[in-house]
C-alpha cells in the first residue's frame, strides 16, 4: 500500500541574486546569454533590468547570426531585459540603446576613446576597424507596441586593455549605462537616436552597402533616425533609409 500519489518535485529555477540594484543570474555555461534572458523575460515575466551573465556561451551569435569569435576567456557576455515604451516602428531603437550603453560603460572602465559603428559594433574611435564589442537586440512585440526587448552585449576584454579580474567593474558600468540610456529613451526614440548618432564614427563616411535579400546601395552616412535606420545621402541629396535588418555588409569607399 502506498501513501498516495507521489508529489512532483518542486521545480528549481536558476538562482537569482541582487547585483548592482537589479536581479541577476549567472550561468557558467549556457546556449547564450540572450537565450537565457529571453526565457526569463517571456516565461517568467522578468522585470526591466533583469541581467544574465554567461561565462561560456555555446552559440554566441550577433547580427544575422554572425559568430562572436573572441575567445570565451577574454569575453564578457551579458544580456539585459528592457521594457521600453516604444511603438512597433521604433522597436529597433533597442539596438541603439545596447550600443550606447556599451560604448559608455566600456569607455568608463577602460579609459579608451570608443565609438559606435552602426548598427551593432563598438570600435576604437581612432581606429574604426578595431572592434572591441558587439551588440544585438531581440525585440518582442505586443499589440501595437514593444512588449520587451533583450539586449545582448559582448566585450573583448583584451582589446579594451582589461584583465579578467575587471569583468565585474565592466559589468557594473555597463548595466548602469543601460539604465541611463533607458532613461534617455523616456524622452523618446528620437532623443536616443540623436545621442547614438553623436557617438557614431560611421557618420560622414562614404560607404558601399550590400543589402538583404539582394541589391546594393552607396552614399554618405548622414543620420540615424528614430527607427534606428541609417540615412544614406547621395551627392544630389537623395536619402535612402536602411534598416538594421536590411544590411548584409558594407565597406568604406
Amino acid at each position: 500500500m502506498t501513501d498516495g500519489p507521489a508529489m512532483p518535485e518542486e521545480r528549481v529555477g536558476p538562482e537569482t541574486i541582487e547585483r548592482f540594484g537589479r536581479p541577476t543570474r549567472h550561468f557558467p555555461v549556457a546556449v547564450s546569454a540572450e537565450a537565457m534572458a529571453l526565457a526569463w523575460a517571456n516565461q517568467e515575466n522578468g522585470p526591466a533590468g533583469a541581467t544574465v551573465v554567461v561565462d561560456h556561451e555555446i552559440g554566441p551569435r550577433g547580427l544575422h547570426g554572425r559568430l562572436w569569435e573572441v575567445p570565451l576567456t577574454q569575453t564578457l557576455a551579458l544580456s539585459v531585459v528592457v521594457r521600453p515604451s516604444l511603438t512597433v516602428e521604433e522597436g529597433n531603437v533597442s539596438w541603439l540603446l545596447a550600443a550606447l550603453a556599451s560604448v559608455e560603460g566600456a569607455e568608463a572602465v577602460s579609459g579608451l576613446a570608443l565609438a559606435t559603428w552602426w548598427p551593432d559594433l563598438i570600435v576604437d574611435a581612432s581606429a574604426p576597424t578595431e572592434q572591441v564589442a558587439a551588440v544585438r537586440a531581440e525585440v518582442q512585440l505586443g499589440p501595437g507596441k514593444v512588449r520587451s526587448a533583450v539586449i545582448t552585449m559582448r566585450f573583448d576584454l583584451q582589446r579594451l586593455g582589461l584583465e579578467n579580474d575587471r569583468k565585474d567593474d565592466l559589468l557594473e558600468a555597463v548595466v548602469l549605462a543601460v539604465d541611463r540610456a533607458s532613461e534617455r529613451l523616456d524622452e523618446g526614440a528620437s532623443a536616443l537616436a540623436a545621442a547614438y548618432e553623436g557617438r557614431c564614427a560611421l557618420i560622414g563616411k562614404r560607404i558601399k552597402m550590400r543589402l538583404l535579400p539582394k541589391g546594393e546601395t552607396r552614399g554618405t552616412a548622414a543620420r540615424i533616425d528614430r527607427s534606428a535606420r541609417l540615412e544614406l545621402e547621395s551627392p544630389s541629396g537623395m536619402v535612402e533609409k536602411i534598416g538594421v535588418d536590411q544590411v548584409a555588409a558594407f565597406e568604406q569607399v
Binding site: 541589391g215 546594393e216 546601395t217 547621395s234 551627392p235 544630389s236 537623395m238
Partner: protein, 142 residues
C-alpha cells in the same frame, strides 16, 4: 561632341549607383524621359503630377520621390554585377545614325579570362551632347 558615348554611359552608371538622382534625370534624353513618365502613368500616377514632372515644375519632394523610385528600378537592372569593375565598350555598329550603343562588360575570373556583357546603354545625340535613352540589361533567355 564634348564627351564620348562611353564617358556619358560611365557617368550615367556612376550616377545610378551613387544615387545622384538629379544627375540621372539630366543625363536622360527626351525619349527616355517620355518612356519613364509613360511607365509612371500606366502605374497610376495622376496626370497633373506627370505634367509637373515633365515640365520641371514639380516640388522637390515630388521630384525626389519619383526619381528615387526610378533609381531603384535602374539599380535592379544592374543588380548582381560588380559595378566597380565594369568596362565600357562602344559598339562599332551604331543602331541608327545619330545614336550610339555602349556595352557594359563585367570581367570574368582570371581562370576563365575575358568578360561578359551584362547590359548596354543606348544613347542619342542631342545638341552636341550624348543623352541616355535606354538601359538594357542582358539577362539569360528563358
Amino acid at each position: 561632341m564634348t564627351q564620348a558615348p562611353t564617358e556619358t554611359a560611365r557617368a550615367f552608371v556612376d550616377a545610378v549607383i551613387w544615387g545622384e538622382h538629379r544627375r540621372v534625370w539630366e543625363l536622360f534624353g527626351l525619349e527616355a524621359r517620355t518612356t519613364v513618365l509613360n511607365v509612371a502613368r500606366k502605374r497610376g500616377m495622376d496626370e497633373a503630377l506627370l505634367a509637373r514632372l515633365r515640365d520641371g515644375m514639380a516640388s522637390d519632394s515630388e521630384r525626389d520621390g519619383f526619381l528615387s523610385d526610378l533609381i531603384n528600378g535602374l539599380r535592379a537592372d544592374l543588380a548582381g554585377n560588380d559595378l566597380d569593375a565594369l568596362e565600357y565598350e562602344l559598339d562599332p555598329e551604331p543602331p541608327e545614325p545619330g545614336r550610339a550603343r555602349v556595352v557594359l562588360n563585367a570581367p570574368l575570373p582570371p581562370t576563365l579570362g575575358g568578360s561578359l556583357p551584362v547590359a548596354s546603354v543606348e544613347l542619342s545625340s542631342d545638341d552636341g551632347e550624348w543623352r541616355v535613352e535606354r538601359l538594357v540589361p542582358r539577362t539569360t533567355l528563358p
